[in-house]
Amino acid sequence: MTLLAKLKDVAARSPWLYRINAGSCNGCDVELATTALIPRYDVERLGCLYCGSPRHADIVLITGPLTKHVLAAAQRVFAEIPDPKVTVAVGVCPISGGIFRESYAICAPIDQYFPVDVNVPGCPPRPPAIIEGVAKAIAIWRQRL
């Protein structure tokens, strides 16, 4: 393996997570908090950290059905995240609108606006399901480094 490939393998062990709440009911955000914080579903084993700034992020977790109010702000924040990055849609709301599917106020599915890579269905998804989605995202991110 070349030195660059080895360095990329090393770099792939430190994916930092950033959450964008695009109009979510906070159910999925609570599950995201438990995935990181509580000892039972520790996500720091995989090297993940929740960062406070989009500039530090590698894996973006988007929750919520992207209400019309938040569309512009979410697109601006998403543009601030440096490449390479991977996008994970957490919950059924970003994938299809979920329970808000027929609402006039939402812009789901969000893959019209953001390049989503991994979907994690569930309302809300269990923390192990979110960790599974993050593990898939880390595999994709390694390819993009």
């Binding site: 520790d42 059924v92 299809s96 979920g98 599917r101 269905p121 998804p125 192990p128 960790i131 599974e132």
Partner: protein, 168 residues
């Protein structure tokens, strides 16, 4: 417990993190509401689940091949209303939570079912191979009566049950 005793306890007992994804996942709780499963053989064709689904994940379609059932897991919110109201238990919730997938597979993650058409054994008309709802029939149906009922169209099913004496 103050934080020093908590530290001592955590250091003594070691971490209690679940090994997933670096190991097998612990079994899900028995009553976990997760992915649904559809059994076409037990479906009555009442379409209650389609009416009640809050996110519109369940769709039935009348096709030449029969009554088609589709449920997209990426729209299902796992509420369990369909399973609660299904009269025959054809649609159930399993404990399978492991549904994370890549973006391209979104529409592949669906549950499909088909209730084939039949030709009525009595009048020769069109019918569907739906399971009759016989929970409240008295006296209970025998197996041959059940198969006879299943092979008939809805009108002839009613005639058959009335001719037995007690109405369902």
């Amino acid at each position: 417990m103050n934080f020093l005793t908590l530290f001592a306890r955590n250091l003594r007992l070691g971490p209690y993190t679940e090994p997933f994804p670096l190991g097998p996942a612990t079994p899900a709780p028995k009553r976990l509401r997760a992915r649904i499963e559809f059994d076409a053989k037990s479906c009555e064709g009442c379409l209650l689940c389609e009416k009640l689904c809050p996110s519109g994940a369940i769709r039935f379609a009348r096709t030449p091949a029969g009554l088609a059932f589709d449920c997209f897991h990426s729209t299902c919110v796992f509420c369990g209303t369909c399973a609660f109201y299904c009269p025959t238990g054809a649609i159930r919730q399993t404990t399978d939570w492991s549904l994370a997938h890549l973006e391209g597979e979104t529409f592949a993650l669906a549950e499909h079912g088909l209730i084939p058409p039949i030709v009525c054994a009595e009048c020769g008309g069109k019918g569907l191979d739906t399971a009759p709802n016989v929970a409240k029939v008295r006296p209970p149906l025998s197996d041959e009566e059940y198969s006879a009922l299943r092979a008939r169209c809805p009108k002839c099913r009613n005639k058959f049950l009335r001719s037995r004496g007690k109405t369902p």
